[in-house]
Subunit: 299 residues, 2 copies
């Protein structure tokens, strides 16, 4: 029993992504104690052998590991309070897999350090199906010894780990840069394909050419297909989450005192769509906003 | 001699791209008569067996084929005048491989038709090295019978042909859509990598992660590498040509009465760089403008 408890890892946050990741960990033989604000979402994990905690701090054991996959910076800062960090205590480790701003990562790392807890950032690339299949791409940064300790857990969740050194902020900057590139690609395809459509050219034929040649990569192939087919529900990643990430990108640019004109354009695009009540569709839905602006959808 | 002359194809425009394409045609056994405003550029082709014409119209034979690869719409409209088209005459064919606006293609097709000449649009994707190696991607549209007639020539120049129907404007819209996607990717990487750099994160490490996973495709891999290495000369495709294409994209959007906010942003970026005297560097040089705006290059 002692060994079992010592090896048990905490997991907080069972949204679409967290649920898939936690399920993979259980499948790999990892014992878990899980917490979610809405307890119902933890039910499938309990059936698969996880213990359900009634309070976030109950996921922590002295010197153990807690993984978090939460919606935003405020959720992570709110849940990883002094109570939880005291329960983890010296030798404890928090593997923070949410997409957070670099300033938040720095602040969290300092708070963790005061309790002797290592803070490791590991935001992920991939949709819920990739999370469920253990095929995420992982961006890792934090103290070197803590990174080594996580190898088995990360191998269960990802198909590859890219390391960015000791500063937990670095992995978050990288993740934001990646999400910004994805949103930019969605914007560019939305504009290009609507131009084709308005000129009477088959957007799918344009998409086939471009994604079989110069842009033969997953983002253009998969997101472009959703754009051509105008398939924006169910969302793999909601516009609301995309808007949150664009805000984080713009905050990071402001903190570094540098302009990012395309990030500003995307920030406005997302805000207009949120204002229009479209926060819950997939972020490829940018194409719908563009088609409406182009007069391809009647108001 | 008659057969030889009948089979000889005209080729007008021996810039970096045209020279490579014409060389490939000669290598494939095609006899050529070539014209370039600056005759010196035709010298290597003469050595390889091409005949040099002193006047554009001298590249045309009755019912034959003339290929053009020129810098812009005005050059094509200027050279393919009534004199040249009368020389080509009924059964003649003009294979127009420059990147032109769709409105220009439509206007040229009408003018050609008045002389009984088929106008076929076939803009290409690929840099000068791809042109030289016969590895271009070809976007083809125009009358079906004329397209069939071109199969052997196109096979010598490209690694793949994508067809867009009978309307010559369609291939040009497709090509503009593609160049717009490339410029958008350059802009996005320029902003993302400068964000990483300003936050002290190794831009090359970010580039490696993204282009080995989500963006594992030629445009991101090759152009991103140039951006990370800040290698903007010698140009594969100049900023001045990029600016011309963005103008064509914006003209096509205006003609279709639709906004393209990212195209507008790019148009302004290119104009600012032209104003700064940077027209002759590669268009990945957008990254230099972004790094300067971010305070990463001293003024």
């Amino acid at each position: 029993m002692t060994t079992q408890a010592e090896n048990t890892v905490g997991f907080i946050g069972l949204g679409q992504m967290g649920l898939g990741m936690a399920t993979r960990l259980l499948e790999s033989g990892q014992s878990l104690v899980v917490y979610n604000r809405t307890q119902d979402k933890a039910r499938p994990l309990a059936d698969a052998g996880a213990r359900i905690a009634n309070h976030p701090a109950d996921t922590a054991t002295k010197g153990g590991i807690v993984i978090s996959m939460l919606a935003d910076d405020a959720a992570v800062e709110g849940l990883f309070d002094d109570q939880l960090l005291a329960r983890l205590g010296p030798g404890g480790l928090h593997l923070s897999m949410s997409t957070l701003g670099p300033a938040t990562a720095t602040r969290l790392a300092e708070r963790h350090k005061a309790h002797g807890v290592d803070y490791v950032a590991c935001p992920v690339f991939g949709r819920p199906d990739a999370a469920r299949a253990g095929k995420l791409w992982l961006c890792l940064s934090g103290p070197a010894s803590a990174r080594t300790r996580l190898e088995t857990l990360l191998a269960a969740m990802g198909q590859g780990v890219y390391e960015f050194g000791d500063d937990p902020a670095a992995a978050n900057v990288t993740k934001l840069a990646g999400n910004f590139l994805i949103a930019s690609a969605i914007e560019a395809m939305s504009e290009a394909y609507s131009l084709a459509e308005k000129h009477g050219v088959d957007a799918d034929a344009v998409h086939q050419l471009l994604t079989q040649t110069l842009f033969a990569c997953p983002i253009y192939q998969n997101y472009g297909k959703a754009i051509v087919e105008q398939r924006f529900t169910p969302p793999g990643f909601t516009l609301r989450l995309g808007a949150k990430d664009m805000r984080l990108v713009q905050d990071a640019a402001r903190a570094a005192e540098m302009p990012m004109p395309l990030a500003s354009l995307l920030g406005d695009r997302f805000l207009r769509m949120l204002a229009g009540g479209q926060g819950d569709i997939d972020w490829t839905g940018i194409a719908a906003d563009q088609r409406q602006a182009a007069g391809l959808i009647s108001q």
